[in-house]
């Protein structure tokens, strides 16, 4: 089973070959060293651990799977893809940005989205500039920007193909949540890696479904995850900002 978990042969066959440059961009953007503050957010996982709902590696894996397949992660995947496709359409990018910011029903996930979006845009302007990125930043003029839209736009502006770019985006999201789980449950570092590997098929499926989902057909069913995000606001002791 490990080979199917690691590979995505179905999409690999249809993907254009990636240049070394594109691969380096994805590795840099998906790295936990990208300073957008992702490590400070758990999307409600901290509250799920606090009330005993998540207490082991399987629980972390299932929580992250629900986020990526049916929650905010899937929403972001669809909007990432839409932004990638809209790189030459500033009005559409603006609409997608507004939609992505509005597509969060809790205070902390909204803050998480906008803070990371702002941080990523700043890094892109300074270290990975492209005219389309600058134009988007100028159009938003300091107003909040959504992480998924900025990230999708950046990949397109640098000519990184959508399929691999989306997988890298989902990978970073999942790896960040697993890392939060490692600290919260806690799990051993190796167990964390095992949880992450177990998620690879989910990321592949979520990406494929996201590519086939129009923003107007998009919705969530991760109701409990949303509740934990709300409950997190009143947790007595918190390591994470969401």
């Amino acid at each position: 089973m490990r080979t199917t978990a690691m590979g995505s042969t179905a999409t690999a066959a249809t993907m254009p070959p990636m240049t070394d440059g594109a691969l380096h961009l994805l590795l840099a953007w998906a790295s936990p060293a990208l300073p957008i503050g992702a490590f400070g957010y758990s999307q409600g996982l901290e509250a799920a651990v606090a009330d005993g709902s998540v207490r082991d590696r399987a629980g972390v894996r299932a929580f992250v799977a629900a986020v990526v397949m049916h929650g905010g992660g899937f929403v972001d995947a669809v909007l990432f893809a839409a932004a990638h496709r809209a790189v030459a359409d500033p009005a559409r990018l603006s609409d997608l940005n507004m939609l992505a910011l509005a597509f969060r029903a809790t205070a902390e996930t909204r803050q998480e989205n906008a803070q990371q979006g702002r941080a990523l845009l700043g890094i892109l302007l300074a270290a990975y500039p492209r005219p389309a990125i600058r134009a988007f930043a100028e159009a938003q003029a300091g107003a909040p920007v959504a992480l998924a839209v900025v990230a999708g736009l950046a990949a397109a502006a640098h000519g990184v193909p959508l399929g691999p770019a989306l997988q890298a985006f989902l990978h970073a999201l999942a790896a960040n949540l697993v890392s939060a789980g490692v600290r919260l449950v806690p799990l051993g570092q190796t167990e964390g890696q095992q949880a992450l590997v177990d998620l690879f098929p989910c990321l592949s499926r979520a990406g494929a479904r996201a590519l086939a989902t129009a923003p107007e057909d998009l919705g969530i069913s991760s109701i409990r995850i949303e509740e934990w995000s709300m409950h997190h606001e009143t947790l007595y002791s918190r390591l994470f900002r969401s």
Binding site: A102, A107, G219, S221, R224, E233
Partner: protein, 265 residues
Amino acid sequence: MAGEARIGWSAGGLQSLYQRAPARFLFPEPSIPGHNEAVLVVTSGGLTGGDTLTLAARVGGGASATLVTQAAERFYRVRSGDPDIRVSTRLRVEAGASIDWLAQEAILFDGTRLRRALELDLSTGARVLAVESLVFGRRARGETFATGRVLDVIRVRRDDRLVLHDALAIGDDDPEAFADRFRLDGAAGLATLVYAGPDAASHLPLARALVPPGGGGASAFDDLLFVRLRDADARALRDAVTRAAGALREAVLGLPRDLPRVWAC
């Protein structure tokens, strides 16, 4: 069928009215001086493939209004090949005006396909309390919503800026959603309450207190109060919705805690 109903209120009371069967309004005896109230009735008894229901209300001139549906709405199986059922509700509220929209539950029968949208178009300073819920089949009668799909959207725009896009997508060959403890966790239904108003954040402690333990949550952002309720029992969910809607309309709109009489039965 294509039901449609439009209503408008202004400082002088009812300003405009349009209704097309099977949708129509009833006007109960006014119980609160200066406050407007209408009951939306859909006489068809339920909706199925290709049916549409379009409702629009406008409140201006500092008026306040309550709009309530007379009964739970039933959404029946949609035959394959037939279009999805579409339900659209649009509430436009001007600064200084207010409305509470108290929709009774939408009961989803097995095999239904529903696209429902509630659009709140607000000016800064407008206030809206909106309540909607979904029930996944009549479980007390051994019925479930096991196949089909619902896309249930609530959108809030303030001065043409989209501030909330809440979309639930449930079903669609995804039966695991109902038992998944990270998703619906056995819920018989879900309810969503949104209050939009400049004082929304100040009511967050009340909203949190109205959520039964382990059955939902509340948050506040961008001059919105957002409450989700969930219960494994449809009757208990309805009780929680009734209690939360009553307490919130009293706190945020100064209206009686008791919901209009049609909610009682």
